[in-house]
């Protein structure tokens, strides 16, 4: 399940910003400028729809979008299966 979720997240991220490689290890997507605030809005909207959840507004903080692992952890916390 976890691997499938990771693949889905990478797919959505790549569709959002095709110019970046989101599979690269050790990158902080926010600090590297790979995702801006508009991208985060689009990403959360896509994830909410894809997983039929509503990510809590209080969870929409930069740290939760810094890597694929942090995004997957956010999804699980908000009930994604």
């Amino acid at each position: 399940m976890l691997n499938n979720m990771k693949e889905q997240v990478i797919k959505i991220l790549t569709e959002l910003r095709p110019e970046f490689d989101f599979t690269q290890e050790g990158l902080n997507f926010i600090e590297e400028g790979m995702l801006d605030s508009f991208d985060v809005v689009s990403l959360v909207n896509e994830l909410d729809t894809k997983y039929g959840i509503s990510i809590d507004g209080l969870d929409i903080v930069p740290d939760n979008f810094s890597s694929v692992d942090s995004i997957v952890a956010l999804l699980i916390k908000n009930g994604a299966k």
């Binding site: 509503s54 507004g57 209080l58």
Partner: protein, 340 residues
């Protein structure tokens, strides 16, 4: 609330096309999430918020069954007045041909302005035992840079008129407010006496946040506004409902300042409302029209009067106005367009 009417410019901006031409990118997924697909923006330089509000008020006098001589006071909520002096409400008295005995008052408030206007209108109507004409208008396109991505895609122009009538038999209205001036820079238009105008303030430049705008244009730090809306405001709203011994499911509608759809959905969830069935949206057609967005949403979307409404205006200040009220019996005259 006896009658309401709204007015927007005829000129409509397609946001997808606008994003392509101004920022050279496909922003369809972002715009879908923000929920602003079109905006109405005035073309003529001389157009002001006054024009929209006068058109809306005239519609009420012509079709809403309200007589000019019954108006005891005019309140004008705007952050874009025709002039700094005299105020808009007094000039509106003349333009609308109202009696010289009316009281006039302007309220300078942005996003939460309509709730502050309603509160004042209700108090004045009760005190005078006469009807109050509440005008709410803004021409945001005058100070929103078309080259600043954080604001350019969001804002539209509009004006509304609402008539508040004293009625001892009507259900009570309840209000609560929050003000935090320490965070005023989260969303700000610096044009004013603190920054006496200089030629350089009229030049476009790219700022540290990446936005290209004039010094006098609106500057918005979306992160700070978002945190306020999804964290602070729900706390106040929930405490207010606790005080009133109500909860989200007891209301017919949740009418929110139309900031952006994404943020509003998160906010609705945080205060126990179902955004799909309870939260009307007008920003898909009109964008964020600052304080006008609440009455514009009522005029545009509440075709049937809602007997129990929870209303939140939140943003610039930072400040919020929250109301629990009834719109039963409201004569809704809808939204008209004018060439401007």
């Amino acid at each position: 609330m006896e009658a309401i009417a709204a007015c927007v410019p005829e000129n409509k901006v397609d946001n997808l096309e606008f994003a392509k031409s101004h920022f050279e990118e496909d922003m369809s997924s972002t715009l879908k999430a923000l929920g602003v697909l079109e905006r109405h923006v005035a073309i003529k330089e001389e157009t002001t918020s006054m024009d929209f509000c006068i058109a809306a008020a005239e519609k009420i006098f012509a079709e809403g069954g309200v007589k000019r001589e019954d108006i005891g006071a005019i309140i004008f909520v705007t952050l874009t007045p025709d002039c700094l002096m005299p105020n808009n409400s007094t000039y509106a008295q003349h333009l609308l041909g109202l009696g010289k005995d009316v009281a006039t008052l302007d309220i300078n408030h942005a996003c939460p302005g309509y709730v502050f206007g309603l509160w004042n209108a209700a108090l004045i109507a009760q005190n005078m035992q006469k009807k109050v004409l509440l005008l709410d208008g803004d021409i945001n396109s005058k100070y929103v840079s078309p080259w600043d991505k954080s604001t350019a895609l969001l804002f539209g122009d509009a004006g509304t008129a609402t008539v508040i009538t004293p009625d001892a038999s009507a259900p009570d209205w309840h209000f609560t407010f929050m003000s935090d001036g320490s965070n005023r820079e989260a969303i700000m238009v610096r044009l004013g006496m603190r920054y006496p105008i200089k030629t350089e303030y009229l030049e476009y430049k790219t700022w540290e946040d990446g936005g290209k705008r004039r010094f006098i244009d609106m500057e918005m730090h979306g992160r700070d506004v978002f945190d306020y809306v999804v964290d602070v405001v729900p706390e106040i709203a929930n405490a207010f409902m606790d005080e009133l011994e109500t909860s989200g499911e007891e209301y017919k509608k949740l009418v929110l300042h139309q900031a952006n759809h994404f943020m509003l959905k998160k906010m609705a969830k945080a205060i126990g409302f179902d955004h799909k069935t309870q939260m009307p949206i007008s920003m898909n057609k009109y964008g964020n029209t600052s304080s006008v967005s609440i009455p514009l949403t009522i005029a545009s979307e509440l075709t049937e009067p809602a007997d129990h409404v929870f209303m939140i205006g939140m943003g610039a200040g930072l400040s919020s106005g929250i109301a629990d009220l009834s719109l039963k019996g409201l004569n809704n005259l809808g939204v008209e367009t004018i060439k401007c």
